[in-house]
Amino acid sequence: MVFRRTHIAVALLILIGSPALEAQAPTNSAQTASAPSPAPGIIRDWGISLRDGASGRVQVRFSSSEAAPAKAEGGLMPAVWDVTGLRLETFRADESADFTIEAPTCRVNVTTRDAASPGPFAAHRDGDGIRMTGTGFNFDNGRQRLVVSNDVRIEIRASLVKTSPSPK
């Protein structure tokens, strides 16, 4: 399973990194650069949808205004990217949108599907109106967990804490 996911991720990265394939990549599995890179290794309008290896459903979608491979990353294809203008969307089992996280800067690992940033971020879920801001986060996709390290502010609808009707 891990082997298969890794292959999917690598294939997506190849799609992203190949200018020749950019024009023919408007699939759900990868939405790629639409503008020339301003500098070598930097991709504008970067986006990637990551699917569950077994079910094929979209789990997470990363998109950003710019992305560049992290310098420390080695190997054939970088897994870790430094992105600006991140938009991270998680999806439920029926592929409807769940949480959306936005951050000015972020480091994304497309293999593990994790994202982290020491800077500010904002998140929201339209379904129940939960909104959140904070400084410094780590999104662990495997455990579906978001860790916030500073200045957490969460807003929820009061209707979510409604009790049953009072007896008359």
Binding site: D98, D151, I154
Partner: protein, 193 residues
């Protein structure tokens, strides 16, 4: 004396129930803290360090550690949920620990605001049985007096009743009894001349 205790109990119940009822009328509840962990699948929100929960004009809660469970409503999740529809999970449970301070606000007569102050080491709320359990030196203060429990003070949101686990003590403000019949009854004592 017993009658006065009943009066105080009604006052406490009325003020306590006012918080949740008015909370339904307010739109947003804000939770702030230094740190937080959100477990998306389980719907667990864990906040710690300088935790504050505020529903404007209704209640404020401060504590060291707060764990709330708002599980995803599977039926709502499966359906297409329109933005703002509020179709996801409801609060299932809430546990606040460490220096728990809760203040309920209620509009009083003449534009005043009555404040009920509850404190303890731990406050637990369970949506299944809809009770709020205050433990660890539980204490509830109103304008009329103070109820101090030794083990737990339990408020049932459904029946609007309060009960205790273990002995408790009620401290009434002296002016509450000023007009009570308790101290204005006729006695057999001879009239002073």
């Amino acid at each position: 004396m017993i009658r006065s205790l009943h009066v105080l109990r009604w006052v406490l119940l009325t003020l306590l129930v006012a918080g949740p009822v008015r909370a339904q009328l307010q739109d947003r509840i804000q939770l702030t803290a230094t740190n937080a962990v959100l477990e998306f699948q389980e719907g667990v929100y864990h906040l710690w360090d300088h935790v504050r929960v505020e529903s404007s004009g209704v209640l404020t809660l401060t504590c060291d550690d707060l764990r709330a469970v708002l599980p995803q409503d599977k039926a709502a999740a499966a359906a297409t949920v329109a933005p703002g529809a509020g179709g996801s999970g409801r609060l299932q449970s809430l546990v606040a620990t460490g220096h728990v301070q809760i203040q309920f606000f209620q509009a009083g007569a003449g534009g005043t605001t009555n404040v009920v102050h509850a404190s303890g080491d731990k406050a637990e709320y369970g949506a299944a049985d809809e009770v709020l359990i205050l433990t660890g030196n539980p204490r509830i203060e109103t304008g009329s007096g103070t109820m101090v429990g030794t083990e737990a003070l339990i408020y049932d949101l459904k029946s609007r009743s309060m009960r205790n686990r273990g002995p408790y003590r009620i401290e009434l403000r002296s002016d509450v009894l000023r007009n009570s019949v308790l101290f204005n009854r006729g006695t057999n004592a001879p009239k002073s001349r």
